[in-house]
Symmetry: C2
Subunit: 207 residues, 2 copies
């Protein structure tokens, strides 16, 4: 049946015309409904994947933050006045890392309701857009924290002979191990955030 067509007013009682017209309307409605359901189904799948990714990211960021927070090592020898000890609070960058990643973890928990809304209403634009924009901002915070901490961890491992900054990982091996783990975990969560943004972008686009 042609899509673009018209009725002819021939001055006769046109019951046939009307009934045929109704059939067309019903068919079109059905088609629209099926299309929406298909789009909704594929977008609901994306939304569920988004939710699971967020749960995983919560675990990883809480892990990263707490590993860094508890990273501490006291050397088994000491002088009369001095005990050799390294903790995350000896490095401002690591303090920034702990605070930032804790903020990221809290944000992820708070974003779960929005993610649930996108599962329930896969075609809603507003929660998707809010998630995408706030995810982007939080991605920046996560990456900055991970990058800064990585620079310091690198320095702790290798030192810098040009500036006489000596490596400390020979002495504080366990501490360095813990901080490196935290940085790797934060980097994984960065990848998760990139995936979350890509999911939101695909879910936002017109079918």
């Amino acid at each position: 049946m042609a899509k673009e067509s018209t009725t002819i007013d021939v001055g006769e009682p046109s019951t046939v015309t009307k009934s045929a017209s109704h059939v067309v309307v019903d068919e079109k409605k059905k088609k629209g409904f099926v299309a929406a359901a298909a789009g909704g189904g594929y977008k609901r799948g994306l939304a569920i994947f988004d939710f699971l990714l967020r749960l995983a990211a919560i675990g990883i960021t809480i892990g990263a933050s707490s590993v860094m927070f508890t990273a501490e090592e006291t050397l088994p020898f000491f002088t009369q006045f001095l005990q050799f000890q390294a903790g995350y609070d000896d490095f401002p960058t690591f303090q920034f890392f702990v605070i930032s990643i804790a903020i990221v973890a809290s944000y992820l928990v708070l974003s779960l309701p929005f993610s649930i809304v996108t599962i329930v209403r896969p075609l809603a634009v507003a929660p998707r857009l809010i998630l995408l924009i706030s995810d982007t901002v939080i991605l920046t915070l996560t990456t900055a924290a991970a990058g800064a901490a990585a620079a310091i961890v690198y320095l702790a491992h290798n030192g810098n002979s040009n500036t006489n900054w000596l490596p400390i990982c020979q002495q504080f091996g366990d501490f360095c191990q813990a901080t490196s783990t935290a940085v790797v975990a934060a980097s994984i969560s960065v990848v998760f955030f990139i995936l979350l943004i890509v999911i939101s972008a695909i879910a936002l686009k017109r079918n």
Copy 2:
């Protein structure tokens, strides 16, 4: 005139029907065109803003990379064997910064054609999606470089008494100034990337 309607094949030469049908088609096309033009106009504005932001970001990233690259300071005194000199290549983090930000600037230049495509065809989904995803990845690279360099610049300014890493900015004041400027410029380009991603997200969504 009803939107959903049908033709009746009455076995007569139906010239009237056909002409009426054409009118309807034209009206529908016009309506569609007007709607597309309205949506297209507002999305074209976004695309032009996107293009201008990219141009600005190219300037800032090239500036950041070259300021860091040329940051060098030789102290006016020297011993028989040693001249005191600081350059970006004394710090692995600053080398990473120069290379990363140069990559970001090249990416931005390469992304200009895609941005132009979105100006010409504001409703096209594919170039928008490509830009959004690659912008997100490049945002991560920019932020990581800026964050890592910021951590080292902070250390150069303040040192760390716990690890006996002495500040070097008292001696190499100009070098520190240049590296700080580069980090600030990179941070501004991070903000630009966030704006670019938000623009792409808004342009992607259904009206």
